[in-house]
Symmetry: C2
Subunit: 230 residues, 2 copies
Protein backbone atom coordinates (compact mmCIF):
# COMPACT_ATOMS: atom_id res chain seq x y z
CA UNK A 1 0.00 0.00 0.00
CA UNK A 2 1.21 3.33 -1.18
CA UNK A 3 2.26 6.71 -0.03
CA UNK A 4 0.24 8.11 -2.90
CA UNK A 5 -3.28 7.09 -2.02
CA UNK A 6 -5.91 8.22 -4.42
CA UNK A 7 -9.13 6.79 -5.71
CA UNK A 8 -7.26 5.89 -8.87
CA UNK A 9 -4.85 3.71 -6.93
CA UNK A 10 -7.77 1.97 -5.27
CA UNK A 11 -9.49 1.49 -8.62
CA UNK A 12 -6.32 -0.01 -10.08
CA UNK A 13 -5.91 -2.34 -7.09
CA UNK A 14 -9.51 -3.48 -7.43
CA UNK A 15 -8.99 -4.14 -11.15
CA UNK A 16 -5.92 -6.20 -10.26
CA UNK A 17 -7.83 -8.27 -7.72
CA UNK A 18 -10.47 -9.02 -10.31
CA UNK A 19 -7.89 -9.89 -12.95
CA UNK A 20 -6.02 -12.34 -10.70
CA UNK A 21 -9.27 -13.90 -9.49
CA UNK A 22 -8.74 -12.79 -5.92
CA UNK A 23 -12.26 -11.46 -6.51
CA UNK A 24 -13.70 -14.00 -8.95
CA UNK A 25 -16.54 -13.25 -11.38
CA UNK A 26 -19.90 -13.19 -9.67
CA UNK A 27 -18.49 -12.95 -6.19
CA UNK A 28 -19.32 -10.27 -3.70
CA UNK A 29 -16.46 -7.98 -2.77
CA UNK A 30 -15.99 -6.40 0.67
CA UNK A 31 -18.24 -3.46 1.32
CA UNK A 32 -17.05 0.12 1.18
CA UNK A 33 -16.47 0.44 4.91
CA UNK A 34 -14.29 -2.69 5.01
CA UNK A 35 -12.22 -1.54 2.05
CA UNK A 36 -11.82 1.92 3.55
CA UNK A 37 -10.51 0.30 6.73
CA UNK A 38 -8.16 -1.96 4.76
CA UNK A 39 -6.76 0.88 2.66
CA UNK A 40 -6.78 3.35 5.53
CA UNK A 41 -8.82 5.94 3.72
CA UNK A 42 -12.25 7.52 3.89
CA UNK A 43 -15.26 5.64 2.61
CA UNK A 44 -15.91 8.40 0.08
CA UNK A 45 -12.60 7.61 -1.57
CA UNK A 46 -13.48 3.94 -1.93
CA UNK A 47 -16.90 4.98 -3.19
CA UNK A 48 -15.37 7.09 -5.91
CA UNK A 49 -13.12 4.26 -7.06
CA UNK A 50 -15.86 1.62 -7.10
CA UNK A 51 -18.26 3.97 -8.83
CA UNK A 52 -15.83 4.32 -11.72
CA UNK A 53 -15.43 0.56 -11.98
CA UNK A 54 -19.18 0.10 -12.00
CA UNK A 55 -19.48 2.69 -14.78
CA UNK A 56 -16.86 0.72 -16.71
CA UNK A 57 -18.99 -2.42 -16.39
CA UNK A 58 -16.52 -4.26 -14.18
CA UNK A 59 -18.66 -4.25 -11.05
CA UNK A 60 -22.36 -4.39 -10.40
CA UNK A 61 -23.47 -2.47 -7.31
CA UNK A 62 -26.75 -2.92 -5.52
CA UNK A 63 -27.93 -1.19 -2.38
CA UNK A 64 -28.24 -3.38 0.62
CA UNK A 65 -26.87 -6.31 -1.41
CA UNK A 66 -23.31 -5.13 -2.01
CA UNK A 67 -20.86 -4.89 -4.89
CA UNK A 68 -20.29 -7.86 -7.19
CA UNK A 69 -17.77 -8.68 -9.89
CA UNK A 70 -19.61 -8.81 -13.21
CA UNK A 71 -20.02 -12.33 -14.65
CA UNK A 72 -19.81 -11.24 -18.26
CA UNK A 73 -18.59 -7.69 -18.12
CA UNK A 74 -20.17 -5.42 -20.70
CA UNK A 75 -17.37 -3.40 -22.20
CA UNK A 76 -18.16 0.12 -23.29
CA UNK A 77 -16.69 1.93 -26.25
CA UNK A 78 -17.11 5.69 -26.34
CA UNK A 79 -17.00 7.38 -29.71
CA UNK A 80 -16.56 11.11 -30.00
CA UNK A 81 -19.05 12.78 -32.31
CA UNK A 82 -17.31 15.82 -33.69
CA UNK A 83 -18.53 18.42 -36.09
CA UNK A 84 -17.77 17.03 -39.55
CA UNK A 85 -15.56 19.96 -40.43
CA UNK A 86 -13.41 19.17 -37.40
CA UNK A 87 -13.45 15.49 -38.17
CA UNK A 88 -11.94 16.28 -41.57
CA UNK A 89 -9.44 18.76 -40.17
CA UNK A 90 -8.36 16.22 -37.55
CA UNK A 91 -7.29 13.94 -40.40
CA UNK A 92 -5.02 16.67 -41.68
CA UNK A 93 -7.27 17.43 -44.65
CA UNK A 94 -8.78 20.69 -45.84
CA UNK A 95 -12.54 20.78 -45.16
CA UNK A 96 -14.97 21.89 -47.82
CA UNK A 97 -18.72 22.07 -48.02
CA UNK A 98 -21.36 22.27 -50.74
CA UNK A 99 -25.11 22.60 -50.27
CA UNK A 100 -26.91 20.46 -52.83
CA UNK A 101 -30.55 20.91 -52.03
CA UNK A 102 -32.81 22.76 -49.61
CA UNK A 103 -36.57 22.44 -49.60
CA UNK A 104 -39.62 22.14 -47.42
CA UNK A 105 -41.15 18.70 -47.85
CA UNK A 106 -43.46 16.26 -46.10
CA UNK A 107 -41.38 13.97 -43.93
CA UNK A 108 -41.02 10.43 -45.30
CA UNK A 109 -42.34 7.60 -43.18
CA UNK A 110 -39.09 6.22 -41.71
CA UNK A 111 -37.99 9.64 -40.52
CA UNK A 112 -41.50 10.34 -39.22
CA UNK A 113 -41.35 7.23 -37.06
CA UNK A 114 -37.88 8.05 -35.85
CA UNK A 115 -38.93 11.51 -34.72
CA UNK A 116 -42.48 10.65 -33.68
CA UNK A 117 -44.23 13.04 -36.08
CA UNK A 118 -47.71 13.13 -37.57
CA UNK A 119 -48.06 12.19 -41.25
CA UNK A 120 -47.66 15.06 -43.67
CA UNK A 121 -45.68 17.26 -41.31
CA UNK A 122 -43.57 19.61 -43.44
CA UNK A 123 -39.92 19.64 -42.49
CA UNK A 124 -36.91 21.40 -43.91
CA UNK A 125 -34.95 18.96 -46.05
CA UNK A 126 -31.26 19.59 -46.68
CA UNK A 127 -28.67 17.66 -48.63
CA UNK A 128 -25.06 18.69 -48.57
CA UNK A 129 -21.70 17.28 -49.41
CA UNK A 130 -18.69 17.59 -47.11
CA UNK A 131 -15.34 17.61 -48.88
CA UNK A 132 -11.84 16.73 -47.72
CA UNK A 133 -9.07 18.18 -49.90
CA UNK A 134 -11.75 18.77 -52.55
CA UNK A 135 -12.72 15.12 -52.64
CA UNK A 136 -16.13 13.88 -51.42
CA UNK A 137 -15.98 12.86 -47.78
CA UNK A 138 -19.53 12.50 -46.56
CA UNK A 139 -23.08 13.17 -47.68
CA UNK A 140 -25.31 14.86 -45.14
CA UNK A 141 -29.03 14.17 -45.67
CA UNK A 142 -31.05 15.98 -43.04
CA UNK A 143 -34.62 16.66 -41.96
CA UNK A 144 -34.90 19.71 -39.77
CA UNK A 145 -37.82 20.95 -37.69
CA UNK A 146 -38.86 24.30 -39.21
CA UNK A 147 -39.99 25.46 -35.77
CA UNK A 148 -36.41 25.41 -34.51
CA UNK A 149 -35.80 28.85 -32.97
CA UNK A 150 -33.36 31.02 -34.87
CA UNK A 151 -33.67 28.96 -38.02
CA UNK A 152 -35.06 31.74 -40.22
CA UNK A 153 -32.36 33.67 -41.92
CA UNK A 154 -29.69 31.01 -41.60
CA UNK A 155 -27.87 30.48 -44.89
CA UNK A 156 -27.11 26.78 -45.09
CA UNK A 157 -25.07 27.35 -48.23
CA UNK A 158 -22.55 29.12 -46.00
CA UNK A 159 -22.74 27.08 -42.79
CA UNK A 160 -23.53 23.39 -42.64
CA UNK A 161 -26.63 22.49 -40.69
CA UNK A 162 -24.39 20.14 -38.76
CA UNK A 163 -22.28 22.98 -37.45
CA UNK A 164 -25.11 25.46 -37.00
CA UNK A 165 -27.01 23.00 -34.84
CA UNK A 166 -24.02 22.15 -32.70
CA UNK A 167 -23.41 25.83 -32.07
CA UNK A 168 -27.03 26.86 -31.61
CA UNK A 169 -28.99 23.86 -30.36
CA UNK A 170 -26.41 22.02 -28.35
CA UNK A 171 -26.82 19.35 -25.73
CA UNK A 172 -29.95 17.73 -26.99
CA UNK A 173 -30.66 14.06 -26.41
CA UNK A 174 -31.28 11.42 -28.99
CA UNK A 175 -30.07 8.22 -30.57
CA UNK A 176 -27.32 7.26 -32.94
CA UNK A 177 -26.96 4.20 -35.15
CA UNK A 178 -24.11 2.85 -37.27
CA UNK A 179 -24.71 0.55 -40.23
CA UNK A 180 -23.58 -0.35 -43.74
CA UNK A 181 -25.35 0.32 -47.01
CA UNK A 182 -24.68 -0.23 -50.69
CA UNK A 183 -24.15 2.87 -52.83
CA UNK A 184 -27.05 3.49 -55.20
CA UNK A 185 -26.12 5.21 -58.48
CA UNK A 186 -26.88 8.68 -57.12
CA UNK A 187 -24.77 8.16 -54.01
CA UNK A 188 -21.98 6.65 -56.08
CA UNK A 189 -21.86 9.72 -58.30
CA UNK A 190 -21.77 12.08 -55.35
CA UNK A 191 -19.23 10.15 -53.30
CA UNK A 192 -17.08 9.23 -56.28
CA UNK A 193 -17.31 5.47 -55.91
CA UNK A 194 -18.72 2.48 -57.79
CA UNK A 195 -22.46 1.75 -57.60
CA UNK A 196 -23.03 -1.09 -55.15
CA UNK A 197 -19.92 -0.30 -53.16
CA UNK A 198 -20.25 -0.86 -49.40
CA UNK A 199 -20.45 2.42 -47.50
CA UNK A 200 -20.45 3.25 -43.82
CA UNK A 201 -23.33 5.37 -42.56
CA UNK A 202 -24.53 7.01 -39.37
CA UNK A 203 -28.07 8.02 -38.49
CA UNK A 204 -28.89 10.38 -35.67
CA UNK A 205 -32.17 11.61 -34.31
CA UNK A 206 -32.05 14.43 -31.80
CA UNK A 207 -34.58 16.07 -29.54
CA UNK A 208 -34.77 19.07 -27.23
CA UNK A 209 -36.77 17.62 -24.40
CA UNK A 210 -39.69 16.02 -26.23
CA UNK A 211 -39.47 18.29 -29.29
CA UNK A 212 -37.90 16.76 -32.37
CA UNK A 213 -35.05 18.83 -33.77
CA UNK A 214 -33.50 16.88 -36.57
CA UNK A 215 -32.89 13.49 -38.16
CA UNK A 216 -29.78 13.07 -40.24
CA UNK A 217 -28.04 10.36 -42.21
CA UNK A 218 -24.35 10.79 -42.87
CA UNK A 219 -23.04 8.49 -45.58
CA UNK A 220 -19.26 8.33 -45.79
CA UNK A 221 -17.04 7.65 -48.73
CA UNK A 222 -15.49 4.21 -49.29
CA UNK A 223 -13.14 2.86 -46.66
CA UNK A 224 -14.34 5.06 -43.84
CA UNK A 225 -13.78 3.73 -40.33
CA UNK A 226 -14.67 5.08 -36.94
CA UNK A 227 -12.45 4.05 -34.07
CA UNK A 228 -12.41 4.30 -30.32
CA UNK A 229 -10.28 3.14 -27.42
CA UNK A 230 -11.84 0.41 -25.37
Amino acid sequence: MPGTLTWQWIAAEARRRVAVRQWPPGSRIPDEAQLAAEFGCARATVNRALRELAAAGLLVRRRRAGSFVAELPVRKATFEIQVIRQEIAARGLRPGYRLLEAASLPVPAPVRDLLGLAPGTPFRHLRALHLADDRPFCLEDRWLNPATPGLEGVDFAAVSANEWLVRNRPFSSGTIAFFALAADPGLAALLDCRPGEALFAVERATFAGADPITAVRLTYGPGHRVTAPI
Copy 2:
Protein backbone atom coordinates in the same frame (compact mmCIF):
# COMPACT_ATOMS: atom_id res chain seq x y z
CA MET B 1 -33.99 26.64 -6.05
CA PRO B 2 -35.20 23.36 -4.79
CA GLY B 3 -35.86 21.42 -1.67
CA THR B 4 -34.24 18.47 -3.43
CA LEU B 5 -30.69 19.61 -3.89
CA THR B 6 -28.42 17.09 -5.48
CA TRP B 7 -25.52 17.25 -7.87
CA GLN B 8 -27.94 16.12 -10.56
CA TRP B 9 -30.10 19.16 -10.01
CA ILE B 10 -27.08 21.39 -10.28
CA ALA B 11 -25.95 19.63 -13.43
CA ALA B 12 -29.39 20.10 -14.98
CA GLU B 13 -29.43 23.77 -14.02
CA ALA B 14 -26.00 24.27 -15.57
CA ARG B 15 -27.17 22.53 -18.76
CA ARG B 16 -30.14 24.87 -18.83
CA ARG B 17 -27.97 27.96 -18.45
CA VAL B 18 -25.83 26.82 -21.34
CA ALA B 19 -28.86 26.01 -23.49
CA VAL B 20 -30.47 29.44 -22.96
CA ARG B 21 -27.17 31.22 -23.52
CA GLN B 22 -27.02 32.56 -20.00
CA TRP B 23 -23.60 30.96 -20.20
CA PRO B 24 -22.70 31.37 -23.88
CA PRO B 25 -20.25 29.12 -25.77
CA GLY B 26 -16.67 29.92 -24.94
CA SER B 27 -17.50 31.96 -21.86
CA ARG B 28 -16.11 31.32 -18.44
CA ILE B 29 -18.64 30.25 -15.85
CA PRO B 30 -18.49 31.17 -12.15
CA ASP B 31 -15.99 29.13 -10.19
CA GLU B 32 -16.99 26.29 -7.91
CA ALA B 33 -16.95 28.38 -4.75
CA GLN B 34 -19.26 31.01 -6.23
CA LEU B 35 -21.70 28.41 -7.48
CA ALA B 36 -21.66 26.63 -4.14
CA ALA B 37 -22.55 29.93 -2.48
CA GLU B 38 -25.29 30.62 -5.01
CA PHE B 39 -26.86 27.19 -4.66
CA GLY B 40 -26.26 27.00 -0.95
CA CYS B 41 -24.39 23.72 -1.08
CA ALA B 42 -20.90 22.40 -0.52
CA ARG B 43 -18.26 22.92 -3.13
CA ALA B 44 -17.86 19.15 -3.49
CA THR B 45 -21.43 18.95 -4.73
CA VAL B 46 -20.80 21.56 -7.40
CA ASN B 47 -17.59 19.79 -8.28
CA ARG B 48 -19.41 16.52 -8.83
CA ALA B 49 -21.95 18.19 -11.11
CA LEU B 50 -19.41 20.08 -13.20
CA ARG B 51 -17.18 17.03 -13.47
CA GLU B 52 -20.03 15.12 -15.11
CA LEU B 53 -20.68 17.94 -17.55
CA ALA B 54 -17.01 18.08 -18.45
CA ALA B 55 -17.01 14.32 -19.06
CA ALA B 56 -20.01 14.83 -21.33
CA GLY B 57 -18.05 17.38 -23.35
CA LEU B 58 -20.23 20.32 -22.39
CA LEU B 59 -17.61 22.11 -20.30
CA VAL B 60 -13.87 22.40 -20.48
CA ARG B 61 -12.17 22.75 -17.10
CA ARG B 62 -8.66 24.03 -16.52
CA ARG B 63 -6.90 24.55 -13.22
CA ARG B 64 -6.21 28.10 -12.32
CA ALA B 65 -8.08 29.21 -15.46
CA GLY B 66 -11.60 28.10 -14.61
CA SER B 67 -14.47 26.27 -16.30
CA PHE B 68 -15.59 27.22 -19.80
CA VAL B 69 -18.54 26.36 -21.99
CA ALA B 70 -17.29 24.33 -24.93
CA GLU B 71 -17.31 26.17 -28.28
CA LEU B 72 -18.10 23.12 -30.34
CA PRO B 73 -19.09 20.49 -27.85
CA VAL B 74 -17.87 17.04 -28.72
CA ARG B 75 -20.79 14.70 -28.18
CA LYS B 76 -19.99 11.22 -26.98
CA ALA B 77 -21.85 8.06 -27.86
CA THR B 78 -21.23 5.04 -25.69
CA PHE B 79 -21.82 1.63 -27.21
CA GLU B 80 -22.08 -1.46 -25.06
CA ILE B 81 -19.95 -4.34 -26.24
CA GLN B 82 -21.67 -7.49 -25.11
CA VAL B 83 -20.73 -11.09 -25.56
CA ILE B 84 -22.20 -12.10 -28.93
CA ARG B 85 -24.34 -14.81 -27.38
CA GLN B 86 -25.96 -12.19 -25.13
CA GLU B 87 -26.30 -9.76 -28.01
CA ILE B 88 -28.35 -12.39 -29.83
CA ALA B 89 -30.37 -13.31 -26.76
CA ALA B 90 -31.12 -9.64 -26.12
CA ARG B 91 -32.85 -9.54 -29.51
CA GLY B 92 -35.11 -12.35 -28.38
CA LEU B 93 -33.41 -14.92 -30.62
CA ARG B 94 -31.93 -18.30 -29.81
CA PRO B 95 -28.11 -18.18 -29.92
CA GLY B 96 -26.15 -20.83 -31.74
CA TYR B 97 -22.47 -21.32 -32.47
CA ARG B 98 -20.38 -23.33 -34.92
CA LEU B 99 -16.60 -23.52 -35.05
CA LEU B 100 -15.46 -23.53 -38.66
CA GLU B 101 -11.71 -23.62 -38.45
CA ALA B 102 -8.92 -23.70 -35.89
CA ALA B 103 -5.26 -23.68 -36.77
CA SER B 104 -1.87 -22.28 -35.84
CA LEU B 105 -0.68 -19.95 -38.57
CA PRO B 106 1.74 -17.09 -39.17
CA VAL B 107 -0.05 -13.83 -38.54
CA PRO B 108 -0.91 -11.87 -41.71
CA ALA B 109 0.60 -8.41 -42.05
CA PRO B 110 -2.41 -6.23 -41.18
CA VAL B 111 -3.05 -8.12 -37.96
CA ARG B 112 0.67 -8.07 -37.20
CA ASP B 113 0.70 -4.29 -37.41
CA LEU B 114 -2.43 -3.98 -35.34
CA LEU B 115 -0.95 -6.06 -32.53
CA GLY B 116 2.65 -4.95 -32.93
CA LEU B 117 4.10 -8.42 -33.62
CA ALA B 118 7.26 -9.61 -35.35
CA PRO B 119 6.86 -11.16 -38.82
CA GLY B 120 6.23 -14.90 -38.83
CA THR B 121 4.86 -15.05 -35.29
CA PRO B 122 2.56 -18.07 -35.09
CA PHE B 123 -0.87 -17.30 -33.68
CA ARG B 124 -3.93 -19.39 -33.12
CA HIS B 125 -6.41 -18.67 -35.90
CA LEU B 126 -10.12 -19.34 -35.30
CA ARG B 127 -13.14 -18.87 -37.52
CA ALA B 128 -16.60 -19.41 -36.14
CA LEU B 129 -20.17 -18.61 -37.03
CA HIS B 130 -22.66 -17.26 -34.53
CA LEU B 131 -26.28 -18.15 -35.24
CA ALA B 132 -29.56 -16.53 -34.25
CA ASP B 133 -32.57 -18.85 -34.50
CA ASP B 134 -30.39 -21.10 -36.67
CA ARG B 135 -29.70 -18.35 -39.16
CA PRO B 136 -26.22 -16.84 -39.64
CA PHE B 137 -25.75 -13.78 -37.45
CA CYS B 138 -22.08 -12.98 -37.40
CA LEU B 139 -18.76 -14.41 -38.51
CA GLU B 140 -15.97 -14.30 -35.94
CA ASP B 141 -12.49 -14.31 -37.46
CA ARG B 142 -9.90 -14.25 -34.70
CA TRP B 143 -6.16 -14.33 -34.12
CA LEU B 144 -5.27 -15.39 -30.63
CA ASN B 145 -1.95 -15.25 -28.79
CA PRO B 146 -0.97 -18.88 -28.11
CA ALA B 147 0.86 -17.73 -24.97
CA THR B 148 -2.44 -16.69 -23.37
CA PRO B 149 -2.53 -18.39 -19.94
CA GLY B 150 -5.13 -21.11 -19.61
CA LEU B 151 -5.55 -21.46 -23.35
CA GLU B 152 -4.38 -25.10 -23.57
CA GLY B 153 -7.22 -27.50 -23.16
CA VAL B 154 -9.94 -25.04 -24.09
CA ASP B 155 -12.37 -26.55 -26.60
CA PHE B 156 -13.40 -23.73 -28.89
CA ALA B 157 -15.94 -25.99 -30.56
CA ALA B 158 -17.90 -25.85 -27.31
CA VAL B 159 -17.25 -22.29 -26.14
CA SER B 160 -16.70 -19.35 -28.44
CA ALA B 161 -13.35 -17.61 -28.08
CA ASN B 162 -15.36 -14.44 -27.63
CA GLU B 163 -16.99 -15.73 -24.49
CA TRP B 164 -13.97 -17.59 -23.15
CA LEU B 165 -11.87 -14.44 -23.36
CA VAL B 166 -14.48 -12.26 -21.68
CA ARG B 167 -14.70 -14.71 -18.82
CA ASN B 168 -11.02 -15.45 -18.50
CA ARG B 169 -9.07 -12.43 -19.75
CA PRO B 170 -11.38 -9.60 -18.86
CA PHE B 171 -10.70 -5.91 -18.59
CA SER B 172 -7.94 -5.64 -21.12
CA SER B 173 -7.37 -2.45 -23.07
CA GLY B 174 -7.42 -2.00 -26.80
CA THR B 175 -9.11 -0.41 -29.74
CA ILE B 176 -12.30 -0.96 -31.63
CA ALA B 177 -13.26 0.11 -35.15
CA PHE B 178 -16.53 0.04 -37.08
CA PHE B 179 -16.66 -0.02 -40.87
CA ALA B 180 -18.46 -1.40 -43.90
CA LEU B 181 -17.26 -4.05 -46.32
CA ALA B 182 -18.64 -5.86 -49.35
CA ALA B 183 -19.35 -9.58 -48.99
CA ASP B 184 -16.91 -11.71 -50.96
CA PRO B 185 -18.31 -15.02 -52.23
CA GLY B 186 -17.08 -16.96 -49.20
CA LEU B 187 -18.61 -14.50 -46.76
CA ALA B 188 -21.83 -14.42 -48.75
CA ALA B 189 -22.15 -18.18 -48.53
CA LEU B 190 -21.52 -18.20 -44.79
CA LEU B 191 -23.78 -15.28 -43.95
CA ASP B 192 -26.50 -16.26 -46.40
CA CYS B 193 -26.47 -13.09 -48.47
CA ARG B 194 -25.61 -12.00 -52.00
CA PRO B 195 -21.97 -11.53 -53.02
CA GLY B 196 -21.14 -7.83 -53.00
CA GLU B 197 -23.76 -7.02 -50.39
CA ALA B 198 -22.80 -4.28 -47.93
CA LEU B 199 -22.03 -5.69 -44.49
CA PHE B 200 -21.28 -4.09 -41.17
CA ALA B 201 -18.10 -5.15 -39.43
CA VAL B 202 -16.23 -4.55 -36.21
CA GLU B 203 -12.52 -5.01 -35.57
CA ARG B 204 -11.05 -5.17 -32.11
CA ALA B 205 -7.49 -5.49 -30.91
CA THR B 206 -6.97 -6.17 -27.23
CA PHE B 207 -3.96 -6.20 -24.95
CA ALA B 208 -3.15 -7.12 -21.38
CA GLY B 209 -0.77 -4.36 -20.47
CA ALA B 210 1.65 -4.41 -23.40
CA ASP B 211 1.02 -8.07 -24.31
CA PRO B 212 -1.18 -8.67 -27.33
CA ILE B 213 -4.07 -11.00 -26.60
CA THR B 214 -6.24 -11.09 -29.66
CA ALA B 215 -7.37 -9.39 -32.84
CA VAL B 216 -10.82 -10.15 -34.11
CA ARG B 217 -13.07 -9.13 -36.97
CA LEU B 218 -16.79 -9.66 -36.52
CA THR B 219 -18.74 -9.45 -39.78
CA TYR B 220 -22.47 -9.21 -39.32
CA GLY B 221 -25.26 -10.36 -41.59
CA PRO B 222 -27.10 -7.90 -43.86
CA GLY B 223 -29.01 -5.05 -42.22
CA HIS B 224 -27.17 -5.13 -38.93
CA ARG B 225 -27.17 -1.86 -36.98
CA VAL B 226 -25.58 -0.88 -33.72
CA THR B 227 -27.29 1.82 -31.74
CA ALA B 228 -26.64 3.95 -28.69
CA PRO B 229 -28.29 6.77 -26.81
CA ILE B 230 -26.58 10.09 -27.22
